[in-house]
């Protein structure tokens, strides 16, 4: 057969190299550039951060001049001075995560389950969820500040309805900061939960109802457990950036009981030029979040999420 011969000949030349070795190298070619990038711009910088966190000031040097050392005392000093801000960051991030879950779950549920089958409506609702991404994060936060301002509609109305004491205000309060965090990271909660609920087979819900479960029971025993991967992903996507955020705290907060750790790190770096303290706080923040995330993911049994 002519084609066999023709192909066979051309093939013989190409096949000179053992195919197994080549196949083994393919993944290195694909992975190489990306992973090298991550090593150079993530692993090495984190190493630099660790090193910086142990620096000491150059004796007799200018402000902002440091030299390499192993001054572990930096951590003790930084924590002794700034532990309230660190704890507050986690507390605010936790509150924002819970609020985002409470607000975001029904949104995701309505889009995924109630709007199921109506593709156009579903698409438009999804667009509305991601719409805030398309305007500047900082402008939206400032808009939020204006909306909560002392003489704006919300506060006036709440004063009128006596929901808020006459001398109380919303701006520059912990409430303003947490609501800003919730607001800014809400889409990150909605999208993964939507993705999980969308994959859910509607026949499962019918089966639940068919087995005489009330809607509440069906939700508790079928819908909620099956949407768990989305909930875990969503809570992580809100908690992690919220814990490190300082835009909300600095735009919506005051400087007494709303200071978050991000503000401190930023100020240490840029205002005080206290690099070792800023670096050690960064390391503490990173380690604390990794430990929390690891424990949370392990507990919720969704390791494969990683």
């Amino acid at each position: 057969m002519s084609i066999t011969a023709a192909l066979g000949d051309s093939v013989a030349g190409v096949a000179a190299e053992p195919p197994r070795r080549r196949a083994r190298r393919a993944h290195l070619v694909l992975l190489g550039p990306g992973l090298i990038y991550l090593v150079l711009f993530f692993v090495v910088p984190v190493g630099a951060l660790l090193a910086t966190s142990l620096y000491v000031p150059v004796p007799g040097g200018d402000v902002g001049e440091y030299q390499p050392a192993f001054h572990w005392q930096n951590y003790v000093d930084a924590l002794a001075q700034f532990w309230p801000a660190l704890l507050r960051s986690f507390w605010f991030a936790f509150l924002a995560t819970v609020a985002a879950l409470v607000i975001g779950y029904p949104m995701a549920y309505v889009i995924a389950v109630r709007a199921r089958g109506r593709k156009l409506l579903q698409g438009l609702l999804l667009v509305l969820v991601v719409a805030p991404f398309f305007t500047s994060f900082i402008l939206r936060t400032i808009a939020w500040k204006q909306i909560l301002a002392d003489d704006a509609f919300v506060v006036t109305a709440m004063h009128f309805l006596h929901l808020l004491p006459a001398d109380a205000r919303l701006t520059a309060t912990p409430f303003a900061v947490v609501s800003g965090l919730t607001y800014n990271f809400l889409p990150f909660m909605v999208l993964p939960i939507f993705a999980a609920l969308e994959r859910l087979d509607p026949r499962l819900l019918e089966a639940g109802a068919d087995l005489y479960a009330s809607p509440v029971t069906t939700f508790r025993t079928v819908t909620w457990p099956l949407s768990m991967p989305g909930v875990v992903a969503g809570t992580l996507l809100v908690f992690i950036p919220a814990a490190g955020d300082y835009v909300n705290a600095s735009l919506l907060g005051n400087n007494t009981n709303t200071t978050m750790i991000g503000q401190v790190i930023d100020a240490r770096f840029f205002k005080v030029l206290d690099y070792p303290t800023a670096a050690s706080l960064s390391v503490v923040l990173m380690v604390a979040i990794l430990v929390l995330v690891g424990a949370y993911v392990r507990r919720s049994g969704t390791e494969d999420l990683l």
Binding site: V110, V127, L128, S136, I240
Partner: protein, 288 residues
């Protein structure tokens, strides 16, 4: 299956005292959940609306109080100093970092799904870590390194930083798409005499385009809107979010709202267009 069949026969026989209250409760839930969700949408969109409305404010320098309607800001979007320069910088940073991050991330995603190799778990961890590190730490780490190496801060350092936090998101997005591809398609290509290179470009890549496009859009929006990492790595270089943040203390010019609203409308139009086209196409497909 049997349960479903049984149920059909039983619906008339089901005891009515049990059925009626349950019906009512379900109707209540039918109303409450959508209403709550609608309020949540309002919460989500009010600040956006506020930003758009105040782009028409006849504000002069500080855009805090409503002064009256004007089109001046839209007719002269570069009217305020530095606004357009910052905007152009953000576009440049966004495009360059998106291109780099999408290319690198796509390759990594393909390797992670298609190959089983030693160190795969470590590679996955390396992808995951930047996503679970707060931006302030990423910024601080990069700044620590740039300071140590005495790299001058500017466009280059900002792009390097943006690529870093975009890669992981690209990998995750594209990975999902690769995983949904039938591996038999690549085998079929090989079976039909396509070399691995040809199989990639003729089969795998075209099928990955939707995932890659989604990843690129995500990367661009992350980069375009980033403030914290940019603030650490930019030195005196100004991007649009940084410009807005810095001018917040003095008062933000309404031109910033104009640019932001313009981007919003543009992005919305693109997304709606894609949605409607996709809807129309799926209709047409089903129709045949």
């Amino acid at each position: 299956m049997t349960a479903v069949l049984d149920r059909a026969g039983e619906s008339t026989a089901a005891p009515s005292p049990v059925r009626t209250p349950r019906r009512q409760r379900r109707r209540l839930g039918d109303v409450i959940v959508p209403v709550f969700a609608a309020l949540a949408f309002v919460y989500l969109l009010v600040p956006v609306a506020y930003t758009v409305v105040f782009s028409f404010n006849d504000a002069g320098k500080t855009n805090l109080v409503w002064q009256g309607f004007t089109l001046d800001n839209w007719q002269n979007p570069c009217g305020a100093p530095q606004v357009c320069e910052a905007f152009a910088n953000s576009l440049q940073v966004g495009v360059v970092s998106t291109l780099i991050a999408t290319a690198l991330g796509t390759l990594v995603a393909i390797a992670l799904v298609r190959f089983r190799f030693r160190g795969r778990a470590s590679a996955n961890l390396l992808i995951f870590l930047p996503m679970s590190t707060p931006e302030v730490v990423l910024g601080a780490a990069l700044l620590a390194q740039f300071l140590t190496l005495r790299v001058p801060l500017g466009f280059g350092t900002v792009v390097a930083a943006h690529v870093l936090f975009c890669i992981s998101f690209v990998v995750v997005t594209v990975k999902a798409r690769v995983a949904s591809l039938d591996p038999a398609l690549e085998e079929a290509a090989a079976d039909l005499y396509a070399s691995p290179w040809q199989a990639f470009w003729r089969v795998t890549f075209p099928l990955l385009i939707p995932g890659i496009a989604a990843a690129a859009l995500l990367a661009f929006s992350l980069s375009f809107d980033d403030f914290i990492v940019t603030n650490f790595t930019s030195g005196s270089y100004t991007t649009f979010p940084k410009f807005v943040y810095v001018s917040a203390t003095r008062g933000i010019p309404p031109q910033a709202n104009v640019i932001s609203s313009f981007m919003f409308v543009l992005a919305l139009a693109i997304v709606v267009l894609v949605q409607v086209l996709g809807y129309a196409r799926s209709k047409k497909l089903r129709g045949r």
